[in-house]
């Protein structure tokens, strides 16, 4: 009897975890099974290092330390590029990406020019940006970029972005 309960509990846990599988992981897993795919995962510490090096001479961001804090809150970056996409694959990807809206992701922006479409999705939880997902869909090529983050809205406020280019030049 005890074994049966354990088995049922195991099955229930498995089914529950499958249903709640991260939709972004599912998108990456689906794409990785295809041919002509290049996928790269970068750890957070590497991103922080690069951002720190690249932003040393930046004029838009007033506080490099804040930017480092934000870069430090990026846990992982995944990039996947696929060429020669079939119509069936594109349709499947579009369906999965469209489905993100029902999985607590918000559409932040959408840009379409010629054959290329870029959609940006974000997921927030308790005043923190947890996921940022870019879907670039071209004629036969596709690229997806996922940033797993833990950026607080307060950190965004500290960014103090300035669009006052003239003032920056003068400085």
């Amino acid at each position: 009897m005890k074994n049966t309960i354990y088995l049922l509990a195991f099955i229930a846990t498995f089914i529950f975890s499958s249903c709640n599988r991260n939709p972004i992981n599912k998108i990456f897993d689906t794409a990785k099974k295809e041919d002509n795919v290049v996928a790269v995962t970068l750890p957070g510490w590497m991103i922080k290092k690069w951002v720190s090096m690249a932003m040393k001479n930046d004029t838009v961001v007033n506080d490099v330390n804040t930017l480092n804090t934000i870069a430090g809150a990026i846990k992982k970056v995944r990039v996947l590029v696929k060429s020669h996409s079939s119509e069936a694959f594109t349709a499947d990807m579009n369906k999965q990406v469209d489905n993100l809206s029902s999985k607590n992701f918000d559409t932040y922006a959408f840009i379409k020019s010629d054959e290329n479409k870029v959609t940006v999705y974000g997921k927030e939880d308790k005043d923190k940006l947890k996921d940022l997902f870019f879907y670039v869909n071209g004629d036969e090529n596709m690229a997806i970029l996922h940033l797993k983050t833990d950026i607080s809205i307060a950190d965004f406020q500290k960014l103090n972005l300035s669009f006052n280019k003239d003032k920056q030049k003068n400085n």
Binding site: N62, D106, T107, Y108, A109, F110, I111, K112, S113, D114, E115, V120, G122, I153, F156, Q157, L159, N160, L161, S162, F163, N164, K167
Partner: protein
Amino acid sequence: MRIITSFLLALFFTATASAQVDAIDKFFNQYQENKDFTVVYVSPKMFQMVSKATNEVEDKELKALIAGIKGLKILTTKVESAKYYAEAIKKLPVNEYETLITVRDKGQNVKFLTKGTGDIVNELLLLVGGGEDFVLMSFVGNLDLNNIAKLAKKINIDGAEHLEKIGKQ
């Protein structure tokens, strides 16, 4: 009786507002997949984030403007601009907006349509057509017209340069 009248009035205004947004959305959706068109949509969430990250001292007015924007949609094409302009005028409920500016120059028409009172408007619609480009730009939110022109200078999007005309009024 008064309650029923109020309810019917509320229902009427809700239905009217919804129909206007629907007409614009419908027009965007109609051409969203057309390869001749460039489409840009920026959600309120995105504006909220940019607003929070914007410098409060150097860009105070811009920050306030961005915070007030509830959505931005842009539809542009360089093909048959006169045809699409005429179609937009016909399909969109332009008579329900107040015409802020109308410019006709060398065959190109530029129309700024607004909803709201004074310098603060709830909706700004820009329609350009007849020349090289067709542009339909829809801003929704609490928009200070004095600051819209400043925003135009900051965003590098086709058609945004027309917004600078507001500042010249």
